[in-house]
């Protein structure tokens, strides 16, 4: 079969037009599906952690306990198998780009709360071969554990170490099962999801709720009247490794 130039142009034009129309209808569909029933709706979720307030309660692990209980995060004694959603690390390890030689000792040793930075430009999303992780419209770097094939590209890409791999079957290592949230299986990567399941029900993330010192402020950066925007406008804050261009969305008051 041979086609002349006229036929060829007609076919190419037709296919292109159909493609454009299809894309538009898909986008309209996605807009309609985007939530709002009674849950929180945001455009750019972010978190501010006031380390001054956080460290008033020395040795407090309430946020970590609440998170791990809510999300069935297993506990392994061996550091190699550790699963981390939210954890503490020394200041000098958390902010490695701070190259000042002489840092006050109390700051150097200060524990910093770390978790997924929900970057605006997330490298983990770019490398995921199955779209098991992606950036939601409200800023959350979400994970679909149904789809994760355990390749661990995302773990290599994340500059913050926010992702953990299940080397072992996690369920026997969960202290208390929360029946409302799934566990994971061996061979799946997991991390903090900003409590997407709680936001959908109009609840703040469980770590924020559990914090006795109100040191964690969660809010929408696109909303100029939000508490987090007010706090960011009034305080000097830092983010981890901003020079990498990932635009992390966790802010710290030192």
């Amino acid at each position: 079969m041979s086609i002349d130039r006229r036929q060829f142009l007609l076919i190419v034009g037709g296919v292109a037009a159909a493609g454009i129309a299809g894309k538009q209808t898909l986008e309209v569909f996605a807009e309609n599906q985007s939530r709002n029933s009674k849950g929180f709706a945001g455009k750019r979720w972010a978190m501010l952690i006031d380390l001054k307030k956080c460290n008033e309660n020395e040795g407090c692990t309430k946020c970590i306990d609440a998170c791990h209980l809510t999300h069935n995060v297993p506990h392994f004694d061996n550091k190699k198998d550790e699963i981390k959603w939210i954890w503490k690390e020394k200041f000098e390890h958390a902010f490695v780009e701070q190259e000042n030689y002489f840092v006050p000792e109390q700051i150097k040793q200060k524990p910093v709360l770390l978790f997924c930075n929900h970057c605006s430009n997330p490298p983990c999303v770019i490398v995921c071969p199955t779209q098991a992780t992606w950036k939601r419209k409200d800023g959350i770097v979400m994970m679909d554990w149904h789809r994760c094939v355990g390749c661990r590209y995302c773990m290599a890409a994340c500059p913050y170490g926010s992702r953990s791999f299940n080397w072992r079957e996690p369920r026997p290592h969960i202290k208390k099962l929360n029946p409302d949230f799934p566990t994971r299986t061996k061979g799946v990567v997991e991390k903090c999801t900003f409590c997407d399941e709680r936001l959908a029900r109009g609840l703040k993330p469980s770590c924020v709720e559990a914090c006795p010192g109100k040191a964690m402020i969660f809010g929408d950066l696109e909303n100029p009247n939000s508490e987090i925007r007010k706090m960011l406008g009034e305080n000097f804050t830092m983010r981890r490794k901003p020079e990498l261009g990932t635009q992390p969305e966790i802010y710290y008051i030192i």
Partner: protein, 138 residues
Amino acid sequence: MYDTGKVLIGILIFILVFTSPILINIAGGKSSVKANPQLPKSGNCIESKEYMKGYHMEMLDKWRNMVVRQDVRFLKKADGTYFMLNGMKAEMSLTKTCMSCHDNKAKFCDECHNYLDVKPYCWDCHIDPAITRKEQMP
């Protein structure tokens, strides 16, 4: 063909022996093993029994994509109103919605799955209510 008669008889015997379980069942009028899922007492399922028998797996697959990937959480009826469960909007959730009535996995889910020898991996992660019930007991 040599020995046509013998070969044909041989084939016939083979077919009879090979299909004997089916033939015996047909002759006896009932199968020896039958899936017998135990239904909950209050019958108010979100879909008809026939639909659920045939398509529950497709429905659950759709649900998980809606909830996890599109963040659409609550179950709507065909007329656009929310499906209510114990005074709350029902979620598209295997454990929270389906298993709030069908709370016995062994006698409901497993009954047919074992019969058909299908092994869905839902409960590798999602928690069978029987496990937490057992934990709560002293």
